[in-house]
């Protein structure tokens, strides 16, 4: 081809032709792709012995942290990062038996008052922050006071702290955190990452919001640098000797831990395959499936405490104001098939308002609605919706129509199409709109939807209060517009019960009532998904769907 054109000519023309030849190669891209797309021959990094110290681990995360201050953040993702830089007073970790346990962190021991309103911590004396400040009771007080300081503009931390009263320094190594009313969720909350103890020197030096760009904690990794929206570099803290043995004692094995922001889901998988990332977080289910079939990657899917991803059902807007219609919706949807067909089987189908690892999860509530389209049809018949020749149900000349509003980026677009196809089979019609989060939030509060989109990562079953409390209808997350003063009271009561078993029993009751009242169509359990080459080892999981990097290795 090139020979044909390259008649004798001046030198500049030769150079032009070389460029043209490159261009022509580009045109051959399609057949090449077809040949390589399914190819499996690829040189992967040679795996040396497992668990060797040193090296850099780069984690691809899906969004930009709003701040690096765990006390101020409103993004759950920030906690994944903050747990590498900060220590909580007490860790709450999964046990090998599938349960959970409290493990000393910066506090050696602790006591809880019988009414769950005063928490007293005895602190370690051998801890030093990354900036050289000695850890003691003033640091604990400074951290908690920082979260409630209006200048901090704290989001999740403030929400998680609840009825905080004050932190009192009893002596340099004893501190008392008290609440204006009982707050049984606190032990779980303080461990979840928002309350990593901050260096009081750094808090004073950088100020309430400046700390978010200059985080200083006592954890296994120290903040090195942050290129906004791009990458966060952390380095090993060589002095770290206060790790709980469950996470690996002594300093971190890695030299460097990097969080690389790659918003494109497929981009994270590409970068993982190209060796630019060692961990890809929350890849697309299709990519997770492909990564497993390739045999080159380990998949760590970490269940989280919380409310499964699903569609809140608005109990005030017709036709979902009728409980029979709401029940029919839940009976008509086959979550197991959804997970298998749409999510490639990488997640777990959900049938409840809480995930199974959440304390207070009710097995009974999960069995209320087994997939049963006949039952759905019968319920709709009973509610007076008559199926026409076209399969659409009508009543008084109105179609059985649902207005579905999703917020963009929630991951529910495709699964909702599946849900709609199942609802159509029993006689519903539906319109689905996807709105930016800020817009959707307004639509939900105004009650314009029959079905919305939701899902919540939490630390304690008290999270139910966030989305079922009647106070949260006008401006909060009660997108089901569920108004049940009894449930408000029950959840409040649960949070005043210090005894774990008694508390769980109340939440089990609440969960069952919520499912009976059919205010939520659960789809699949919330979790963190981490994909990595087999060479990455030593990760530990947390109860909020995350991993810790204390003893992680890359070679």
């Amino acid at each position: 081809m090139i020979d044909q054109v390259s008649s004798p000519g001046a030198l500049p023309r030769r150079q032009l032709l070389r460029l043209a030849a490159m261009t022509a190669a580009g045109a051959g891209l399609y057949p090449l792709l077809a040949a390589c797309g399914r190819g499996s021959s690829e040189s992967s990094a040679a795996a040396s012995g497992p668990g060797k110290p040193g090296g850099t681990l780069t984690v691809g995360i899906p969004s930009t942290p709003d701040t690096l201050d765990p006390g101020a953040t409103g993004l759950a993702l920030t906690l994944l990062i903050s747990m590498a830089m900060f220590d909580p007073l007490v860790w709450w970790l999964p046990t090998s038996g599938g349960g959970s346990e409290f493990v000393p962190g910066l506090a050696e021991s602790w006591t809880v008052s019988p009414d769950a309103s005063v928490y007293t911590f005895k602190l370690r004396k051998d801890v030093t922050f990354h900036d050289g400040t000695k850890f003691d009771a003033t640091a604990v007080k400074a951290t908690y006071d920082h979260v409630v300081d209006p200048a901090t503009k704290s989001k999740s931390g403030l929400g998680a702290l609840g009825p905080y009263k004050q932190t009192t320094i009893i002596d340099p190594y004893t501190v008392e955190i008290s609440f204006t009313e009982p707050n049984a969720a606190f032990m779980h909350q303080q461990a979840a990452g928002n309350f990593g103890i901050a260096s009081p020197t750094a808090l004073a030096k950088y100020g309430a919001t400046g700390f978010g760009n200059n985080p200083v904690g006592s954890g296994p990794f120290k903040f090195e640098s942050y290129a906004t929206g791009d990458r966060l570099n952390l380095v090993k803290n060589p002095d770290y000797t206060w790790a709980p043995s469950a996470l690996g004692s002594g300093p971190a094995m890695l030299d460097k831990l990097v969080f690389r922001i790659v918003a494109d889901d497929a981009g994270r998988y590409n970068a993982l395959q190209a060796g630019q990332l060692q961990i890809g977080m929350n890849l697309l289910p299709s990519n997770i499936d492909a990564s497993q079939k390739s045999g080159k990657f380990t998949q760590l899917t970490v269940p989280s405490i919380g409310t499964p991803l699903g569609l809140p059902i608005n109990v005030t807007k017709p036709p979902t104001d009728d409980p029979l219609v709401r029940q029919a919706i839940i009976y008509a949807v086959d979550q197991d098939k959804l997970v298998k067909d749409v999510l490639f089987g990488v997640y777990k189908a959900a049938h409840n308002v809480l995930t199974p690892i959440t304390p207070g999860f009710s097995q009974q509530a999960s069995t209320l609605y087994a997939y049963d389209p006949d039952k759905a049809n019968a319920l709709l018949d009973q509610a007076g919706w008559v199926k026409g020749a076209d399969g659409v149900r009508t009543k008084n000349g109105q179609n059985l129509d649902l207005n579905i509003i999703l917020f963009a980026g929630g991951g529910l677009e495709l699964p909702t199409q599946f849900v709609v196809s199942q609802l159509k089979k029993v006689g519903f019609t539906a319109t689905t709109t996807v709105q930016p989060f800020a817009t959707a939030q307004g639509s939900y509060n105004a009650g314009q939807h029959n079905l919305g989109s939701f899902g919540y990562y939490g630390a304690d079953p008290y999270l139910l209060n966030i989305w079922v409390n009647s106070d949260a209808i006008a401006s909060g997350f009660n997108w089901s517009h569920y108004n049940n003063p009894e449930i408000d009271q029950e959840i409040g009561k649960a949070n005043t019960t210090a005894d774990d078993a008694a508390r769980a029993a109340v939440y089990e009751q609440v969960g069952t009532t919520l499912m009976r009242d059919s205010i939520y169509l659960p789809l699949w359990d919330v979790n963190g998904a981490f994909t990595m080459p087999h060479t990455v080892k030593g990760l530990h999981t947390t109860l909020n769907g995350y991993i810790t990097f204390h003893s992680a290795t890359v070679a």
């Binding site: 081809m1 044909q4 054109v5 001046a10 500049p12 023309r13 032009l16 460029l19 043209a20 261009t23 022509a24 580009g26 045109a27 891209l29 390589c36 797309g37 190819g39 690829e42 040189s43 691809g60 969004s63 930009t64 709003d66 409103g74 704290s154 989001k155 999740s156 403030l158 929400g159 978010g212 760009n213 906004t228 929206g229 791009d230 690389r260 922001i261 790659v262 918003a263 494109d264 497929a266 981009g267 994270r268 590409n270 970068a271 395959q273 190209a274 630019q276 930016p436 800020a438 817009t439 939030q441 307004g442 639509s443 509060n445 966030i466 106070d471 949260a472 006008a474 401006s475 909060g476």
Partner: protein, 310 residues
């Protein structure tokens, strides 16, 4: 010089227009920034109202716009709702990445498009011309983001030659720049090819040849020079398009640039960031067009005189 000054003066209404459009667009999108800001903090309706007042979102729109303009005149772009950092800091830390990407894509467009068009135009209907036309057709027909994904699968995932996401190196820039610039290279190829064919038919080329002027001189000195004005104008206009494409390219390659930042900020209704970003990008666009006009003036004195005399 007067030419440049006149052009600068004519930018003022354009810039005011940009600020107005930026302001109206983000304010007219439904959604309450105060609720987004307080997301997760279990804020009461009173706290949300209080924040709205604090952010002056309860003021009438015209008032908010005047506030925004006033701030802008002081060089203050406000504070990001999300990070509490200054918008100027957030934008300028990301601007270099976008500039580098846009400039590289333009470079690809010019380096590929102009020579290809030149050679194809001098030999219309030759085999080379047919290939060039096919390539340019593909360039226009295939969306840049699709090309980007295909290139990543081929060169990063399968062959391992180039990074799949930005790593700060030149190698990491190759796929984004080529995929983004390719379509514009195709447009330039077609444009230059057509112009060269036209110029070759013109009288002055015939007379130059008749005088015995060497062929390379006919091409470069006469035909190319006269073809370059529409090409340069097109390149200037394409800068804006490339900037738009950069937003998606940035997302695909995990580049922390202005485009991807603007897109997420719109979703979050982060008003100060959206306004700031639109103004900064708008100024950049206006400046590039000024540069293009100056270059066109330099290449073709006729335009310079015409504007200067009017």
């Amino acid at each position: 010089m007067t030419f440049v000054l006149r052009r600068l003066a004519s930018m003022v209404p354009v810039l005011i227009g940009i600020t107005l459009v930026a302001f109206l667009l983000i304010h007219l999108i439904p959604g309450d920034p105060a609720k987004v800001i307080l997301f997760g903090s279990n804020a009461t309706p009173e706290q949300i109202d209080q924040l709205r007042t604090q952010l002056r979102l309860d003021q009438p729109l015209w008032r908010q716009y005047l506030d925004f303009l006033g701030q802008l005149l002081h060089g203050d772009l406000g504070t990001s709702y999300l990070t509490q950092n200054s918008v100027a800091h957030e934008l300028f830390s990301r601007a270099p990445s976008t500039l580098v990407l846009t400039a590289s894509a333009l470079l690809v467009a010019i380096a590929v498009g102009v020579p290809l068009g030149l050679v194809a135009g001098t030999r219309p209907n030759s085999a080379f011309d047919k290939v060039a036309r096919a390539v340019s057709f593909l360039g226009v027909a295939v969306p840049y983001f699709f090309l980007a994904l295909v290139m990543v699968l081929l060169f990063s995932v399968n062959l391992g030659w180039l990074p799949a996401i930005d790593d700060g190196t030149v190698a990491g820039l190759v796929i984004p720049a080529v995929s983004l610039g390719w379509g514009y290279a195709a447009i330039l190829t077609r444009l230059v090819r057509g112009r060269i064919i036209d110029e070759y038919r013109s009288e002055y080329v015939k007379s130059a040849r008749a005088r015995g002027c060497p062929e390379w001189r006919v091409l470069l000195r006469h035909a190319l020079r006269n073809s370059s004005i529409p090409a340069i104008t097109t390149i200037g206009l394409q800068f804006g398009n490339i900037l738009t494409g950069a937003a998606i390219t940035e997302v695909i390659f995990g580049r922390a640039g202005l485009g991807s930042f603007l897109a997420t900020s719109i979703t979050n209704k982060n008003i100060p960031v959206v306004q700031g970003a639109v103004v900064v990008i708008g100024i950049g666009y206006v400046l590039i067009n000024l540069v293009v006009d100056v270059i066109v003036g330099a290449v073709d004195p006729r335009t310079r005189i015409a504007v200067g005399a009017s």
